[in-house]
Structure formats: structure tokens, C-alpha cells
Amino acid sequence: MNAPAAPQSEDELAALIDKAVSDRAPLSIVGGRTRGSIGGRGNGAPLSTRALTGITLYEPAEMVISARAGTPLAEIESALATKGQMLPFEPMDHRALLGTTGTPTIGAIAAGNISGPRRVSIGAARDHLIGVRLVNGYGDIIKSGGRVMKNVTGLDLVKLSAGAFGTLGVLTEVTFKVLPRPETAMTLSLDGLSAQNAVSAMAEALATPFEISAAAHVSANASAPSLTFLRLEGFSESCTYRAERLSKHLDNFGTLRLLEIDEGTALWQRIRDAEDFAGSDFATVLRVHVAPSKAGAIVDIAHANKASIMLDWGGGLIWLGLAQGADASETIQRISEAGGHPMIVKSAVVTLPVLTPASPAIAALARKVKHAFDPHGIFNPGLLAGHI
């Protein structure tokens, strides 16, 4: 395949889109190409944001950073680290899971609303996205939001862009609210709980005032018992105090064991990146968003289909790994019936739809919104299939 077009500036990008619109030639927008088929399998001439790079604004005292869409995530994170700050929503890195190479970019994180374990406490990528610039399917450069945290001026096209997977336009610049990096993190483990009990324990922990920043459960496998993890972050005196209170609070679930700091750091990266589901053991990997109160039902479905599972977000996110030969499409259907929102992250069977379709009324509305940005269907055809 030819190298994708990689415009050097927003204006160059707009001109390229103008041409694609007049040729009615669909585009497939790519950032670092680490995403695989999450959000759907697109088709169209590849258009890369690779050459749109650079941090354009960073004001630590205002907790705000802006960068061009193709800026590598690593560059953003290291700039933030020099000032003791971070992207609060802990974006997942898909490379280990999907076996992709390349560099995750900040624009794709916004477009995919990519969040990690801290989602359960402080919110998703979209909660921290406060400004965007994008080129729409008219070739117009559009801005929405800005660089300030409180902004309700006009329709919130920023929140709409987050998670749209580039179906509305090409993001050229994004602005995120950031937070100070916590002084310390403490990870506590409850050993040997069933997934069902883990959901209850995590719900109890998350209902305390002790500010759990992440809650996950890694199920038992041949080599290890099941483990349920809770993370506390902040000043160290405060973490110690909260850990003590939490131990008392959860004593009916067992004894909380404190992990070493390094062990904790590695663990949360492993959970964030769903590393346990990498490799060839699993023909299909699903990511299921669900209300924690319905997590137990999803776990039952997983067990019935001999799937491996991992729970994050206190049970609000369930990873399922299905071995070769398991009936993925039946599993997906049962998960949807049980109130879960399954998404195929990895699959050997390319004919399976990546997302379960939206209701007809919502899909009809979403299509009108898509049309309002991209009347000729230039951007990422095939993504969010069944939803727009």
C-alpha cells in the first residue's frame, strides 16, 4: 500500500479534504495505527495525522494542555511529568493487546474516548477533553470549547467529538484538562474472591469516602488465584489512614494485603492495557461496558462460555477472552440481552460486527448528526457501524 497522505498543517489537511469531498473519495483517518479495529473496520484512503505534531500550549498552573492531533502520547506524558502532572484518565495503550506497533497519538485518544482504570473515580477521556479543532466534511476548520475548564458557550461539539472515532471530522488539535500526579499510590489486594464477591467488595469500597481511585479484579487461572485490587492515591499520610479504614470496612471479605509500590505500578499498567488478553490464546477479545449491578450476569455468561475474564471500573468494564471454537456471536448476543455493551476488540472472525447496533430511533438521529458534519460520508466509513 502507498504511504498514507500526511498533511503538514491544518490548512493543507483542509485542502486535502476539500479534494476528497469533490471526488467523493472516502478517507480512513489514522493516528499512530495502534488501534486495530476498535470502533469498527474502516475503509477509505488512509489519511494520517502523523505530521500534525507539537504541544501548542501547556499551562501547569491552569492544569491545561493543548497539542496537535498527531502528537505522540509519550511526548504529552513526559511534558506533564516534568511539572508533576498527568492525563487523569490513564489512557490505555493497545499495542500489547493487539500486537500493533506505532505510536499512540493524543488525537486518537480523544477520538476514541480511551480511558483506563481511573475512569471509575475521576471520569473518562471525554470528561477531560475541553477543546477541539477539527476539519469537517465541508472542508471547514471548526473549533469548539477552548482552553478553560468551565465553558458552556454553544452546543458542546467537544463532548460529541470524543468517542466519535473520527466519523465527524479529522481532529487537528485537542485540549485536555490535566491533574497533579498524586504524591503516592497504594495498592491493596483481597485474595481469592469469586468474581461475584469481588463486584460486591469493589462496590462497597467505592461507596466509602476513602476515594478509591481504581478497583479491578483478575480472575483465577491455572497458575494464580483470583485477586481483587483497590488503589488509593494522594499524600502518603492520607493513603495510610484510608487503607486502615478500608481494611476495617471490608473485613468480611478477607484481609487486605498491601502491594509493593513497583508491583502496584506494573499491575495497573497490566490491567489498563488488558495485557492478560494478548497473544494467541484468545481468538476473540471483548470489552463490555455494563452497570456494576449487572456485572454478575455478564460474569455468568462468560463462565458458561468458558471465557477468561478481568473486571475493571469496579465491575463497570469487563474484559472477556474467548478461545478458538467458542461461539462469539452467541456470547455477544447474550451479553447485550443482559444489559451489557459489548465491543469486539480483537477477533479472528472479521464478519462479526464490532458493535451491537443502536436502537433505530437513536441510530436515525445519530445519522442526521453525522450528516450535519459529513454530508458525503467521507470520514471513516465502516466505523461505528450500526450506530450512525
Binding site: E62, L157, K159, P292, I362
Partner: protein, 477 residues
């Protein structure tokens, strides 16, 4: 004379009033339809009281189905609709027109579900903000966005305006705390956006709905995220000799890695007004004051405060006064939260609501006093300092028509200044009619056209809240 224009009412609708009222009467119980002039008077305006218009009729449906039937009727009959919560909008977002039917959601005020495992509460949209927190308080939770109007304002209105409050610095605004909504579209279609899961796939129409000011549909139910109440909270008053010192202190606290629950700023005129009203113990001999609140156990609070006080000392703080009791805490917040009401006792005022990058604070404060003084008026400043959301209260005498015009001009100049320094026209009160004609200052034609096309995807005929948000000039229909 009032400066903000309303489109001329459509006489072809007004002459059909009896027929329209009869049509509505077939859809709702008689006590849900308000048509008498005296009874409609409370619906004539919102908290932007300088402007008022009598609506054609007011409907107060009791269910989503009734909202749907009424909207479908209005859609088919070609009648404009004004969605209304409690009518506390400061931007004129809920002000009706002579040719429009107000659909008020105040009778939709029940709690439908409280799920501790999910940390969510499902409510009808007409419930008040404070009633949500009250419903979950016995189980140790609260609903985070806390507009000062929370005793009266509704969740539907909060969603309409994406409202904030003093505690948003840590917990976010409305859009960060809503997981799902039930919406009735203009043709009566009922849809559920978002849901009980933390993020659902597809276009984020939920995010688009929040802050859409009644332009896209009527919200009848919402699933809200609730948060465990901290073990304790303590506000502390910090008095400074200058606004610059207070502003620099705010920046230094954040730079030190501390994000308190709230950091509120008041200047001398605001301190005096609020203290006279609330007797909160505010220092009267300082030029500027911060209310900083931290949360946690007693020991955690002491530890965080020690760090904050040390930073404040480096920035020349002159008075540090901690709340010593729950009563003092309540009084400190009462003073802040009644800032608008207390100001209303000493003068007429208009409340502005721009946001600026916090680094621009000293410059903007100075320019604002110059602007207001240039019109021969006075200003009192209260604002959410942590996030740069300003609320200058421009004081004037409403009995003097030239003063009202001057106050509005000064307000417009201030909002333009906010945009000029990198901020925006409205941080939490919305555009409404008030800032409608300034939208071109923040957005260019391409930006606005994109928003208008999105709006049209929901309501192609401009039936919903038609005179709001977008400049009247340049509209296509």
C-alpha cells in the same frame, strides 16, 4: 429600553390560541394546563427579570408520555415550545414568547431508582438539585454539581445549562455527573441516551444534549452519578491586601499539586455585601478573600491545610480563619451562595458569567474595574477562582433606563474581554437570550454554521426555544 431583541411574534399562531388551547386540553388534565394571565405571570420571565413575555399557554405534564403527546401536538400544529425547569436561568434561557407554549417539567419530580452498587440515582428531570442530594444523603452520598440556586433549580434546567457550582473544581460540572437521559424529541419520539453503564458505544449524543439549552429536546429523566460524602470538610477564609496576591496564591496551590474541593474568590465590595447579609465572619479589612475548602478526616484536613496555609503565607496572606464548627461552615457557604441575592438587596445588578484562563486574573480584574468605572457604575466580584469562572455583578439602578443600558454595555465589554484573553462568554449560566448576539465574538461563521446544522438535525423547523443561543441575524428559516 431593553436592548435584546425578540423576534416578532407570529400572529397566525396567536389568532389560533383558542384552538391550540383546546388541542392541549385534550392531552393533559385541566390542572396541568395554565392559560389565565394571572396564573401565567410566574412563567413570563426567569431570573433575567428585565425581560418578560407572556406565553400563549403553559403546560405542566405529569409523565414522559404527556410530554411526548404535547410536543407532537405542537410540532404538528406548528407551535413553538419553550422548555422550562424552575425558571432560575440568569441568561433568559427560559423566557417565553407570545406565540409559544411553555412546557414546564415541575410536576415530574420523583426519584425513580437509587442504586448504591452503581452509585447512581435515576430521577425525573423536574426534581430540584437539592432534593437529589437530600434523597441520597441518608446513605452517605451527595450529587456533586451545586449551583447556588440548588434549592429551586431542577435537574432538567441543570442539564439544559450544564450548570456548575462552587464544588466543581474537584467533582466536575453537570456533564461530568450525568450517565444517561430520557429525551423527548420535537416530534414526540422518546429516546434514551447514555445509560447505566459508564460509557456506551456510538456517538455521544448524551454529551451533546447537556448544555443544549432546550434546543434539541426535552429531558424528562436522568441517571445521575452520586459520590460518597467525605468524612469531613472545612472551609478556610484567606484575606489578602490585593486581588493579585489572592490570584497568585490560587495558581501556586495548583502548581503545588493540590486541588481543593473549592476555591472561591470575593473582592471587597462582594465581601461587604455578603457579610452584611450572612454574618459569616468574613474579614472586612482586606481587599480580596478566598474561601478554600478541603475534605477528608480531621487529620487529612489538617495536613492539607498546613500545606495550603504555607503557600498562602508566601503570597502575603493577612488573615487566615478556619471554620471551627458545622454552624460556621454553613454560614461561610451561606454567605457565598447568597452573593447574588444579597447583592439584590443593596442594588439592582446584572450577573455576568465569563471564564478566563486563571493566569489572566490580575489583568482582567483591573480591566473590569476600568470598564465598569468608564460607564460610571460599580462592580462586585465573586468567582470560582480555581477554574477562572468569573461572576462580576454590575450594580445599577433599574429605575434609570440609561443605567440599565450602560450596565448591559459594560457586561458585553467584559464578556468580550474574557474571549480576548482566551476564555469564553459563559462558564455555567448559558447563552440564552442574554449572550445570543455575542456568539460571533467567540465563534466564526464556520463554527456557528456547524452548530446550527447539528441543531437542525434535531429540530429542523426551529420550534424549540427558538429565540435563544444563536444570533437572530443570519438564520436560514
Amino acid at each position: 429600553m431593553s436592548a435584546i431583541a425578540f423576534p416578532a411574534p407570529d400572529n397566525t399562531i396567536i389568532v389560533r390560541r383558542d384552538e391550540i388551547i383546546a388541542g392541549l386540553a385534550r392531552l393533559v388534565e385541566p390542572e396541568c394546563l395554565v392559560t389565565g394571565d394571572d396564573e401565567m405571570r410566574p412563567f413570563e420571565t426567569d431570573a433575567l427579570t428585565a425581560y418578560r413575555r407572556m406565553p400563549l399557554a403553559v403546560v405542566l405534564p405529569r409523565s414522559t408520555q404527556e410530554v411526548s403527546a404535547v410536543l407532537r401536538y405542537c410540532h404538528d400544529a406548528g407551535v413553538n415550545v419553550i422548555p422550562r425547569g424552575a425558571g432560575t436561568s440568569l441568561a433568559g434561557g427560559a423566557i417565553p414568547q407570545e406565540d409559544a407554549v411553555v412546557i414546564g417539567i415541575s410536576k415530574l419530580n420523583k426519584v425513580l431508582d437509587f442504586n448504591i452498587a452503581n452509585r447512581t440515582i435515576t430521577v425525573e428531570a423536574g426534581i430540584t438539585n437539592l432534593a437529589v442530594s437530600a434523597a441520597v444523603a441518608p446513605e452517605g452520598f451527595f450529587y456533586a454539581p451545586d449551583p447556588s440556586s440548588q434549592l429551586a433549580c431542577t435537574i432538567g434546567g441543570n442539564i439544559g445549562m450544564n450548570s456548575g457550582g462552587a464544588h466543581c473544581l474537584k467533582y466536575g460540572v453537570t456533564s461530568n455527573n450525568v450517565l444517561g437521559v430520557k429525551v423527548v424529541l420535537i416530534d414526540g419520539t422518546i429516546i434514551d441516551l447514555g445509560g447505566d453503564a459508564m460509557d456506551v458505544p456510538g456517538l455521544n449524543l448524551l454529551g451533546l444534549m447537556i448544555g443544549s439549552e432546550g434546543q434539541l429536546g426535552i429531558v424528562t429523566e436522568a441517571i445521575l452519578r452520586i459520590i460518597p460524602t467525605a468524612e469531613g470538610a472545612r472551609p478556610v477564609l484567606f484575606g489578602f491586601d490585593s486581588s493579585e496576591d489572592a490570584g497568585a496564591c490560587v495558581a501556586a496551590i495548583i502548581a503545588a499539586g493540590i486541588v481543593p474541593v473549592a476555591m472561591e474568590f470575593m473582592d471587597k465590595p462582594a465581601i461587604e455585601i455578603c457579610e452584611a447579609f450572612a454574618k459569616a465572619g468574613y474579614p472586612l479589612d482586606v481587599e480580596a478573600m478566598l474561601i478554600i475548602e478541603v475534605e477528608g478526616s480531621e487529620a487529612e484536613i489538617d495536613a492539607s491545610l498546613a500545606r495550603i496555609v504555607a503557600i498562602a503565607r508566601q503570597h502575603g496572606v493577612r488573615v487566615v480563619k478556619e471554620s471551627k464548627s458545622a454552624i460556621e461552615t454553613a454560614q461561610i457557604w451561606k454567605g457565598r451562595k447568597s452573593a447574588f441575592g444579597a447583592t439584590g438587596r443593596v442594588a439592582d445588578y446584572i450577573c455576568m458569567d465569563g471564564t478566563i484562563p486563571t493566569g489572566q486574573l490580575p489583568y482582567v480584574l483591573k480591566r473590569m474595574s476600568e470598564i465598569v468605572a468608564g460607564y460610571g457604575l460599580r462592580v462586585a466580584n465573586v468567582f470560582h477562582a480555581g477554574d477562572g469562572n468569573l461572576h462580576p455583578l454590575i450594580l445599577f439602578n433599574a429605575n434609570d433606563p440609561t443605567e440599565q443600558a450602560k450596565a448591559e454595555s459594560a457586561g458585553n465589554d467584559i464578556l468580550k474581554l474574557c474571549v480576548e484573553v482566551g476564555g469564553c462568554l459563559t462558564g455555567e449560566h448559558g447563552v440564552g437570550i442574554e449572550k445570543r448576539d455575542l456568539m460571533g465574538v467567540q465563534f466564526n461563521a464556520a463554527d456557528l454554521n456547524q452548530q446550527l446544522r447539528v441543531r437542525a438535525a434535531f429540530d429542523a423547523d426551529w420550534r424549540l426555544n427558538p429565540a435563544k443561543v444563536f444570533p437572530l441575524e443570519g438564520r436560514t428559516s
